[in-house]
């Protein structure tokens, strides 16, 4: 390992920390309706959009109304995307003349993009026309990210306000996050990416002769605009099949750096926004700290594993499967954060990671995508763990548990445990089913523990709404399309619904004032507790499965056996 391999991730994470308060502070202004730097540009447009849509921005919604608006909106998005795919043949901007997408694949893909998963059972350049990519996929990239933000805003309002039903207005929140955060961000990022050589055109694919004299088809398309939101919105669905390992999606080390930064940008900044909304920036920073700690712990494990001597290959650098333009360090950093953040974009194939680094990517997802996590989703997922921690440990100070003055009682605990349980249940059960049935096993690209990891990773990725693939597994089968489709819905709405119930319940409660007898959550002791609960409740569940996948593979590799 060279010192450069360490400096780069370090500088990167430092930059994330530095940008967090800037963007977080800006989002705080945006979401609390305060005047901000973009109000002069978008203020009128915002009002116009809301007026035309018939939304009264002053109308406050209770949790049911907020949730129904959200579900209806997402369902409409699903339908639209599904229809666009199955009638693709008759739509314009289809220079390659792709046919209609098969039903099971269209179902899977529609869910995938609506749930911010962006699991891709298809290859973009051989399946989707430009119009479906732009009108369908890219649009959902914006909207699914905005949905995540809306949920965390509602939950935060539930925590912050007292004795009320009001959680804000879904339509306003949605409009604001698209207008003030996602669109300006995407414009800036696409321009930066294009400056590095990411393509943006409507050309037909080019047939060229390579130096070796064989002919090769070079796909084109409006990539830059889609890649910007794919990263910023933690969507991860690549324009091309190889995602950010493709030179048209990620041509230079600088574009790689920008893309990585974009993955973490909004999820990290939302912790700061949260702190501002609760009135104590420290609350936000503690959550940021816990997330950063878990990220760093995973990163260090992966780096250690990747830079260790591998007796099976007799090499100290595991370059197999890495994008050589970026090297091991940047590939490992990318793989860690893309799984921490529920993004799912990849610049190297996770299947090629050493077993322990592969385990880190899996574990990151299994914890519930709470290490920064998807836009909005990561924070509300983390807050679920915060509530569980407060409940378990809060009793130890001799008071019934409360978080930021709100009593945590049966209903909150019931919902929190459902949110955690439902994710574990689906990952465990679907993996179990697939690992013993022909329909599951026939898609495997590898044998032994590595094959098991492929299955485990697939369902973790679907339930966690990550969307990255371990690769090696052929996911475009009817079984996998339907199973992962269901897993994605459950992983998304199985958490959103309980979270909204909690938001409604907390909003209706009174806030007890802070005294010296209060269990406080803005200190390092709480951070340690939170990490403990996440690891014990979140990770131990998967310890048996991980033992039979990456852990045993690692031990075997040390004995010189590969799969």
């Amino acid at each position: 390992m060279k010192i450069n391999d360490l400096i780069q991730p370090f500088v990167f994470l430092l930059l994330v920390g530095a940008v967090t308060p800037l963007l977080g502070g800006y989002m705080f202004k945006v979401f609390s309706g305060k005047k901000n730097i973009l109000t002069p540009i978008f203020g009128k447009l915002e009002n116009l959009i809301l007026r035309v849509s018939g939304v009264n921005p002053a109308e406050e919604m209770n949790w049911k109304k907020y949730l129904w608006s959200l579900l209806a909106f997402n369902f409409a998005g699903f339908l639209l995307l599904f229809i666009l795919q199955v009638v693709q043949k008759w739509l314009p901007l289809n220079p390659q003349g792709f046919g209609n997408v098969p039903f099971d694949l269209a179902f899977n893909t529609a869910i995938s993009f609506v749930t911010n998963t962006n699991w891709q059972a298809y290859a973009g350049e051989t399946t989707m026309s430009y119009s479906v990519q732009m009108l369908g996929l890219a649009v959902q990239n914006f909207l699914s990210a905005a949905t995540g933000i809306a949920v965390v805003l509602a939950l935060t309002r539930g925590i912050v306000t007292k004795l009320t039903d009001n959680l804000g207005n879904f339509w306003t929140d949605l409009t604001r996050s698209v207008l003030y955060v996602l669109i300006p961000g995407s414009v800036i990022v696409s321009i930066l990416l294009m400056s590095q050589g990411v393509i943006q055109n409507f050309s037909s694919y080019a047939d060229i002769k390579t130096l070796e004299g064989v002919s090769q088809v070079i796909p084109f398309g409006p990539a830059a605009s889609q890649i910007a939101i794919k990263m910023l919105g933690t969507n991860g669905g690549g324009f091309f099949n190889t995602n950010s390992a493709h030179p048209f999606e990620n041509p230079t080390p600088f574009s790689n750096f920008i893309e990585m930064l974009c993955i973490l940008l909004i999820p990290a900044a939302l912790t700061y926004t949260y702190g501002k909304m609760t009135g104590s920036k420290k609350e936000g920073w503690i959550i940021f700290g816990v997330m950063m700690f878990l990220l760093a712990a995973g990163l260090i494990t992966s780096m250690y594993s990747e830079f260790s001597y591998n007796p099976a290959l007799n090499t100290a650098y595991n370059l197999e499967g890495k994008e050589l333009r970026f090297g091991i360090s940047n590939s490992v950093l990318f793989s860690t954060i893309t799984t921490d953040v529920s993004c799912g974009a990849v610049n190297a194939m996770h299947s090629s990671l050493t077993p322990l680094a592969g385990m880190v990517t899996m574990l990151n997802i299994m914890l519930g995508e709470i290490i920064f996590g998807g836009v909005g989703a990561g924070l509300y997922g983390m807050l679920i763990f915060v509530l569980l921690t407060v409940f378990i440990a809060g009793l130890m100070v001799g008071r019934t548990p409360e978080y930021l003055g709100k009593k945590i009682e049966s209903l909150e605990i019931k919902m929190a445990i459902i949110a955690v349980l439902i994710q574990s249940a689906f990952i465990l059960c679907l993996t179990a089913y697939a690992s013993v049935t022909e329909s599951g096993l026939s898609s495997l690209g590898n044998t032994g523990p590595h094959g098991f990891s492929e299955i485990l990773y697939t369902f973790s990725s679907a339930v966690g709404n990550n969307g990255s693939a371990f690769a090696g597994l052929n996911a475009n089968t009817v079984f996998y399309n339907i199973a992962t489709g269901i897993a994605m819905i459950i992983g998304r709405f199985g958490v959103i619904i309980p979270v909204m119930v909690i938001a409604g319940s907390l909003a209706g409660k009174n806030k007890s004032p802070v005294t010296s007898g209060t269990f406080t959550t803005d200190n390092y002791v709480f951070a340690v507790l939170l990490i403990g609960v996440i690891l014990i409740v979140g990770a131990l569940t998967f310890f048996p499965a991980l033992s039979l996948g990456p852990i045993v593979e690692h031990l075997l590799m040390k004995g010189g056996v590969l799969f």
């Binding site: 007292k162 130890m396 465990l428 010296s516 039979l548």
Partner: protein, 694 residues
Amino acid sequence: MKKNNKIFESSIIRIAVYDSFKKLNPVVLMKNPVMFIVEICASMTSVIFISELYKGAYSGFNLQIAVWLWFTVLFANFAEAVAEGRGKAQAETLKKARKQTNARKIEGDKEKIIPADALRKGDVVVCESGDIIPADGEVIDGVASVDESAITGESAPVIRENGGDRSAVTGGTKVLSDRILIKISSEPGNTFMDKIISLIEGASRQKTPNEIALTILLAGLTVIFLLAVATLPAYYLYGLNSSGLGTENNISIPVLVSLLVCLIPTTIGGLLSAIGISGMDRLIKRNVIATSGRAIEAAGDLDVLLLDKTGTITLGNRMATEFIPVSSVNAETLAECAMFSSISDETPEGRSIIKLAKEKYNLRPKELLPEHVKFVPFTAETRMSGIDIRLTDKPVRVIRKGAADTIEKYIEQNGGFYPEDVNAIVKNIAGEGGTPLVVCENKTVFGVIRLKDIVKGGIRERFLHLRKMGIKTVMITGDNPLTAAAIAAEAGVDDFIAEAKPEDKLVRIRQEQANGHLVGMIGDGTNDAPALAQADVGIAMNTGTQAAREAGNMVDLDSNPTKLIEVVEVGKQLLMTRGALTTFSIANDVAKYFAILPALFTVLYALNGSAGPLGLLNIMKLASPQSAILSAVIFNAVIIVLLIPLALKGVKYRPLGASTILKINLLVYGVGGLIAPFAGIKLIDMFITSIKLI
């Protein structure tokens, strides 16, 4: 009430052992999801063992697992039974006191003897000395001394009279003197005594809100681990296939359920109800009866306490603390004068004046012949008291003491001179929270006696503790704001309400609650009832009225107002114990995984006949896969028994502030919970292998 400090008493143990078997009834156990799962696991293992035996295959391992799983359930049942047993023992003593009595019911102008349990609400009975009061009621006529030792354990009789705040009588207590008419206020089987007994016995125990929430959490964790274990055979099968081993080698049910039982939170699941019952028990030991477990929980949450000044913060009476003479008189002369003025004064204030004179100036009341003196008692008309001394060879001494304005008027009427510096002294005393009494002889003012409310010893420290616990104290007094402020400062309360009317309490409680505070108060009078009902924890004194006792959610049998502080501590202890054991229970899982998983997985992916690579996870170096599993199961069962004393006694509460308490408990139960099972399982493994159990 019998104070029972030993946790394990042989009589209780015997009943508890019997009860722990009785509690195996699945219908009963179903209320506790965690232990119910363990029972199912134990049954499954037993059935497998027996069916194998039937087929002629004896598995000592399966037998031992089955036995220890049954023990796990029994130990949990035992914990609950012991906790209940201690309550039952106390209830027995009460039941003995509640003899079958007859009542003398008044019907029209006749008296009719009927059995006490035939009395209905609204009936009127008469009780004379020697009678047992047949049921709860209100004195509507007469005054009597009553022996209430049956419920309070206090042998000194108390006075019960009609009207006012001393009118409630309790069924089962005994009239010692005089005759009273009682209007019955409860239906049979629903008297105060009945309620106490059923509460202590745990018969009417319901799960408290926090207990319900915790049960949900534990059930949720149980389901998560159930899934983790239930999916394991599928993963294992994949591993077996990949390792080229036969599918018949899949994990056996006894091993699977062992893993399950070790992972689900059995420690807290088994001890949860014992913790709740013993919380109530600890209150009863302090002679406080909570009418619901909810109230004890709420007590831990209190952050505002409303306390009456008199009797709680200060001793009941004012005491003389200083003689301040006017400039022309010396202090001893004033003291002598003051002493004479108080010779006949039997009030506590008067006695304290004599005592002070004796202590400070060694003055004693001289023998005065009755014919030489005339006592002038305090009357509402004169508002003075004093003495006239007529010794034959001396001029008559007319000594008076009274409030400043009264004496001023008296002196002026007699043509005397009321000196200016007296006013200064009087004002000064009042400003410091004292009560000035001016003393004069004939037409001359001698000086002022300072009477002061005496703040109870140690109360300041208790308030300091409360503040550290995050609890604000509010003193309620009828005194003027100046006096109230001075006493508040001296006692160290955080806030006070001066010149308080009864309804002020209610207003204040509502106000605090609207700001999210949880308020506790102690009260006895009928006019306290609304406030007691409004407060989150309202402790009624047993000497109080029936209305007050019904309004509150706790009754203090000792009628000691400072009890509120102990009640808060009991509440906090209860919650802390729950949290500590939950944390401990969950932290234990790490070690159990490291004991059982390597044992299960060691056969997979084995190369060239050596042990499989996952054997490396056996960081405890346990002897064999079977001993590892059995050790984990044994540890899991035994830890329940070892923690029973902690569950019953409660985690020690120290008023240190939340963050310090958290750090201590986290270290002891969190970190301890991580480490303890590693050591425990290793030791058990060494032991069972050395005696060749496996």
